[in-house]
Symmetry: C2
């Protein structure tokens, strides 16, 4: 069985030879059972041996899933915006919320915290100005004096004043909220008819909240609040993709990149001190893929410096922004080869294959990420269409960071049972489940994405062992050192055992 874990394909072939040798005869029920078991053992978690208590919980889970799957309104088949309320009533979801899920390895800096917190907490702080852009979005700034007008934006209004003037501040707050998330109560297919429309709205929403979250006091609180929300969702570790932007103070002065990284480090330390069963967080420095080659070279230089100066908190480097419209990795090959050329360590965590444009230049990102020695792959949605990249990823243990809700909302797939990770989980391809930009999608933490993975593309055949392996994967494929992984795993195991004993009847 240990051999299977290493090389399932080789093992199958042996069994199949026997199987083929069987040839023309009545199908033998034992042979059939053996093949069914073999297939079950190949899936994510298929080799996990469950304790008695885990088996009881697994039986419970199986019953829940049986009931869930016959629903006419099966949540994974629906758009998440419509499915969210249903998911919240699901007993599987409640269980997943309580379950220690390990680490969240693919989350972006300014989509960690639900937008309600931003509006109810942040925009009610003093010195908060807002203006309305030509294209019906909004911008914010905190300032001790009246701020300078922005191009293509109305004159600034102090939000305090605006709130005093309007009749219904709830409407105003809801309208602000609507500008900072993709989530909507309306029909998502109508509001977002195409990938272009939704990506535009996505980028507008980031710009809308930008002035709030890059204000130094908010920046700290936002991150602390983000850690809190993941912690409350029973996530114990985070690898945050962060743009490390200039953070500003009320008087308009700004801080450099190192300050921002250091602040992440300090807040993480504070949070971990306040919550000893939280393991920590590390930062993947990201840059928008819209830049040109020389900017990229400068940023990679900076990343190498940060990696050297902050080896504890800095996990590595990545490019962000819509792959289909941005420059492919191969365009940046010189800049991205600098670390190797100089013998300097800078781990990569490239987004790749978040596309359905099969066979285009962008679609080569998957192979190029692997050639550039990426440590993990962000999304990898297109991987099953690339047998060479797939074999490389498996062989090298380069895990995919699968973000189901993100892929659905950004219109790569409708019915999550058809997510390509269904096939990958069936053969235990290295992967972790993450949530990308939960606040943008009206989700939070990891539980919603675990639900879609487990109930949606996991199918009936995925079980408690699958969930356990997914959680362990999030530590196994993290950027932590082997020593740290051991400690994290021990911490996770304690929490897991407690979870099992409290929920297995």
């Amino acid at each position: 069985m240990a051999i299977l874990l290493q090389r399932p394909h080789a093992a199958v072939t042996c069994v199949l030879l026997f199987c083929v040798a069987g040839g023309l005869s009545m199908p033998d029920p034992r042979h059939r059972e053996a093949l069914i078991q073999l297939e079950a053992s190949m899936q994510t978690g298929g080799q996990v041996v469950l304790t008695d208590a885990e088996q009881r919980l697994d039986t419970l889970l199986f019953q829940m899933k049986q009931e869930e799957i016959v629903r006419a309104d099966f949540p994974p088949a629906m758009h998440f915006f419509k499915a969210r309320d249903l998911i919240r009533t699901s007993p599987i979801f409640s269980l997943l919320q309580k379950m220690p899920k390990g680490g969240a390895l693919h989350v972006h800096d300014f989509a960690m915290v639900d937008v309600e917190w931003l509006v109810k907490n942040v925009t009610y702080r003093p010195h908060c100005y807002m203006c309305f852009t030509d294209n019906r979005s909004i911008r914010f700034i905190f300032s001790s004096r009246w701020p300078k007008a922005l191009p293509r934006c109305s004159p600034w209004t102090l939000l305090e004043h605006l709130r005093a003037e309007v009749v219904n501040t709830t409407d105003l707050d809801n309208s602000i909220m609507g500008n900072m998330t993709l989530f909507t109560d309306q029909d998502p297919e109508t509001v977002y008819p195409s990938q272009d429309v939704i990506w535009d709205t996505f980028e507008q929403a980031f710009q809308a909240l930008w002035g709030l979250v890059t204000y130094a006091p908010v920046f700290r609180d936002y991150y602390y609040q983000g850690l809190t929300q993941f912690y409350m969702d029973n996530v114990m570790y985070l690898e945050l993709r962060a743009l490390l932007p200039q953070i500003y103070e009320l008087n308009g002065s700004t801080h450099d990149t190192a300050w921002t990284l250091k602040t992440y480090q300090e807040v993480t330390r504070q949070f971990t001190a306040d919550h000893p069963d939280f393991f920590g967080a590390r930062i993947i420095f990201t840059i928008h893929r819209g830049v040109n080659a020389s900017v990229m070279a400068r940023v990679v230089e900076e990343a190498m410096k940060l990696q050297r100066d902050f080896p504890d908190v800095m996990a590595g480097f990545d490019l962000v922004g819509r792959e289909d419209r941005g420059r492919p990795l191969w365009y940046f090959r010189d800049a991205l080869s600098l670390p190797v050329e100089r013998g300097v360590t800078l781990p990569f965590f490239f987004h790749a294959g978040e596309t359905d444009l099969e066979g285009t230049e962008v679609d080569q990102n998957l192979l190029d990420a692997l050639l550039l020695n990426t440590s993990r792959i962000g999304h990898g949605f297109a991987l099953p269409r690339h047998p060479v990249a797939k074999a490389l990823s498996r062989k090298r243990g380069v895990a995919l960071e699968v973000c189901p809700i993100s892929n659905q909302v950004l219109k790569l797939v409708n019915d999550l049972r058809n997510h390509p990770a269904a096939a990958l989980m069936a053969e235990n391809h290295p992967l972790v489940i993450s949530s990308d930009d939960p606040a943008m999608f009206g989700a939070s933490g990891l539980s919603y994405d675990f639900y879609e993975a487990f109930v949606g593309f996991g199918g009936i055949s995925s079980h408690l062992g699958s969930l356990k392996e997914l959680a362990i994967n999030s530590i196994r494929y993290s950027s932590l050192t082997p020593k740290q992984k051991e400690r994290a795993l021990a911490l996770w195991q304690r929490r897991w055992d407690k979870f099992v004993s409290e929920n297995a009847f």
Copy 2:
């Protein structure tokens, strides 16, 4: 390269070892190019060597696809009912219509011919009666006397009389047509909100046209017309899944199964005599999976007899009807083992894996079809989720009959770029393209499905070689004898060369 064709996976591993050995160094552009080429060579048609003329045509095709793929309204991403008009204007589609596509291996008896022909030709024949059912469907019968009333149906009206009475016969004809197909001009998502609704409508539509197509003179004409429509679409061979129902005459007398099969044989002979460049057709006898085990045993007995008595026209046996609601293959294992037990030949062509209910009993059909030694698999939509079944299908050369439009209309997948066959084509898994029930979907022949496969899940990387291999596959994986395959391939090659020379500039 020949080795690659046999065992692509083994070959990859070798290259990957070298690749991994490469380790931490700047990515070598030649190495990258080699991996890209390796991946390209692994796909369906990746090993096909093109002639000069074929290369010119391929260049043309590539340009067309580049233009098609940047369209905002990209047809394979849309529901076929909305995409059909767009597809008709596509230059790739025009080319695919002209292209000799080989055989159609998965088509059902009473969905070959467009419903317009049924209405405009068949329902205008004398002695045609119609009634309206309680659930707003219609039924037909041809009869020399006034027919006996049907339960849950209005009294019969002679259509001739009805047409004389109504003001607008066009409206009447359109309404009849609408009852015999799933195709609609309205929004398909609204009309068919769930799999249950569309399968119910599907079965009602078959019942609506049943009384027309089982009338002996119509039965012959319908089949001849069906062959004509496939022939006009440059399909040269057909394997028809046929229920072989009782066919009736005007006086109410009926014929037995053998008569029906013999009639198929005669009409095929007639058609082939009229069209010498048509290769022929064979029949896969089908039964609805709703029957019980003892009925199945009787039908298998009958199938074995037909196979013995009509070895030329009879290709084998299959079960039809919605898998998710019907009985799984394993339920019928005793009946389906009868031929092997008696040492009698009865090839199977099982529908399997036309489901997204992963892990259920029905989802075992794929493995069971293989254990029952199926010659091909109808659909196999769920195959990528079953690594053992997938390996078996590949190893034994059990081809999948992929019917993209059917899977979309019957709500297994929305965006056809996400069809599981995308991954299968990327690794040249044995498969053919077919159209299942074209008349039900508002399609015809094979060209629409070839379009979805080639432009949709084929991606930019699939090319003329892929099309060529798909066409050859339809002969390679047919039920023909090796000798017949040789003749069919020679006939196809002549037509292919002509097609290439007429379209390559």
